[in-house]
Assembly symmetry: C2
């Protein structure tokens, strides 16, 4: 039943996607809660970000070939967001262990269904557009990954010297593989000066955290660079029914998963591997890491106030307002973030959005229950 | 049936109060609305300000001797706030014409009930305390007004060089009348420099807008200084039933009232009369003219944030927060006023509270209905 095509597009049956939806997203508090993290919010569109992420795959990856990994408490809520997916395709982690265990487990599930699958790995909380560009790049990623047998990362041409993203240095061209390049180096979040030099050089791309690879290639690389993790994951397999869509026993998951090494796929595999390629993306991308970033997504008034809510702004500039539809009157205030979550209100300067998570840490000591 | 006592306290039956509750209070938007102006809000206590004002009179003025003047649209709402008052004691103006017509009409009503009444005139939206001091001063005001046959104003010893209040310059002592003084001059809202000089001199008091006088004295002064107004008011009387608590016909009210001269009692009578005395008040007083003033009323946290609502303030100082009980998290913001009215949210700097009324003026052009 193997339908490998050594050249040309990857057959539809072999295309899989793993959507990583395990984030807690405390920087979007008070909209985001433990029970309703960022990927559940409709920050960029009318639908939740995870629903957008899955909808974006339409026509490229069949619904039955999409797996979503999230934490176990969110499985029902995520399933409700994704009625087109079989319930068995929502994998619930008993504990969050960063991306390497998550991707490792999902890869096992994919290989169980299709041993020669090619897999796209996609975070559930990124903003991407336009969809046509994304689909074209995704198909190219599948093809490059299948033919090159490399780990393919999607690189984003930087639009600003961002210091909150990791960067990829593009290496030599991967001959015959679309616009793909080898990866010269992974770089952690740089200083502003360094980020500016990266941009000026034209050789650096943002690391989007989106990948494409053959499942067997990823599994081999995981075994090479994180052998303990690969062994532990494989051990979970022992109770899987040999045929059909049998699932790993929950007891095995509970026994093994919480003790897996907590490590990212970037640090654990990609940065250690010599078999990494980068495909420059033609789509726009943002991980919208804080409330301030939503200013790029939402309508701006003539004074630069960003909001999807009815706003009356008098002598007020560059504010970001999120109230879920409630009216807001601003008089003489600038550069604020104002978020109404119904049961709690947040006001902070745009420049301090990153610290919102520190508020979440103080809720318990303040005795505010039910707002985490 | 006249029970005039030329010396000593005024008999209880002769003591009346007129509570002026006609204000629109747009500076307390968005809590205040046309249908729920400042005097209807519970800004300083659990009860509305008008209910507080009436409750403050307990033991000094009998409920059946209290009249409340408001605009006609608010009569039912005000009556609901004041169940102890006979419904006929809530006078509804067909149009707001400032304080002189309001007081003139109420004085006619009082004289109809008790020709030798002594009347306290009290705005419904001031914060006053403690009640014991207030009652003592009010009784003294009745007594001075009755014996001296002067128009008695209550003067407040200034606690700061406020530029938002009018001032009274104290003249010579009114011999034999408690601590009462003649009034040397009325002064409109002064500059800051002038206000400081007033305070340093020790001779200036804030004009509280609270008064006591014999009804017949006020009526005589009104006839002298605003004869047209007095004539028009008297003309409304023609349909009043001669006996009992007959009321002026609504048709007469509608015909006469909207065309009355719109003028304040201060400007129209007190500043023109030579028969004015001032009684220095022993109670504390504020007209809480804007959201910022509530900072003086509400609990302060250690960083000077004023609120009655649950507040989590991180690195945030001197904010004024009013949400009606909703939780608020502040991070790195100072000197803001944040008001949640449920259907609309307001954020402005403390220093620009006075401009909130300009927002109200823009609601219609913004197409926001139901928020005026």
């Amino acid at each position: 039943m193997r339908r490998r095509s050594e050249s040309g597009p990857v057959a539809r049956q072999r295309r899989f996607a793993v959507v990583m939806a395990g984030g807690v997203g405390s920087r979007y508090w008070p909209w985001s809660r433990e029970s309703r993290p960022k990927q559940m919010l409709a920050l960029a569109a009318q639908r939740s970000m995870v629903a957008e992420t899955v909808a974006r795959l339409r026509g490229v990856v069949a619904p039955q070939n999409i797996l979503v990994v999230t934490n176990r408490r969110l499985v029902s809520a995520i399933a409700a967001e994704l009625p087109e997916l079989p319930r068995g395709s929502i994998l619930g982690e008993p504990a969050g262990r960063n991306t390497a265990p998550c991707i490792g487990w999902a890869t096992l599930e994919v290989m169980h269904r299709c041993p020669d699958a090619v897999v796209a790995v996609l975070p559930a909380d990124h903003v991407i557009g336009p969809r046509r560009e994304f689909c074209r790049d995704l198909l190219a990623g599948f093809e490059v990954a299948d033919r090159s047998r490399l780990l393919v990362t999607f690189g984003i041409r930087p639009t600003a010297p961002a210091t909150g993203y990791g960067y990829l240095r593009a290496g030599r061209v991967l001959a015959g593989h679309c616009a793909a390049r080898h990866v010269g180096a992974f770089v952690e979040k740089p200083s502003l000066a360094l980020a500016k030099r990266y941009i000026d050089s034209g050789r650096y791309f943002w690391n989007s955290g989106m990948f494409a690879w053959r499942a067997d290639v990823l599994w081999r690389e995981l075994g090479e660079h994180l052998p303990g993790l690969a062994r532990s994951l494989k051990a979970m397999e022992r109770t899987r029914k040999p045929e059909g869509r049998g699932r790993i026993a929950r007891s095995d998951l509970d026994r093994v998963y919480p003790r897996l090494e907590s490590i990212s796929i970037d640090y654990g595999v990609l940065e250690r591997s010599r078999n990494v390629a980068m495909l420059p993306a033609g789509f726009s991308w943002s991980d919208i890491g804080s409330w301030e970033a939503t200013a790029e997504l939402w309508p701006l008034d003539s004074a630069g106030n960003a909001s999807r809510d009815p706003l009356l702004a008098v002598d007020s500039k560059r504010n970001v307002v999120a109230t879920g539809g409630k009216r807001v009157a601003l008089l003489g205030v600038n550069d604020l973030v104002i978020v109404d979550a119904g049961d709690v209100l947040l006001v902070c300067p745009r420049g301090r959005c990153q610290e919102v998570r520190s508020i979440v840490g103080r809720l318990a000591e303040r005795g505010w229950k039910g707002l985490q």
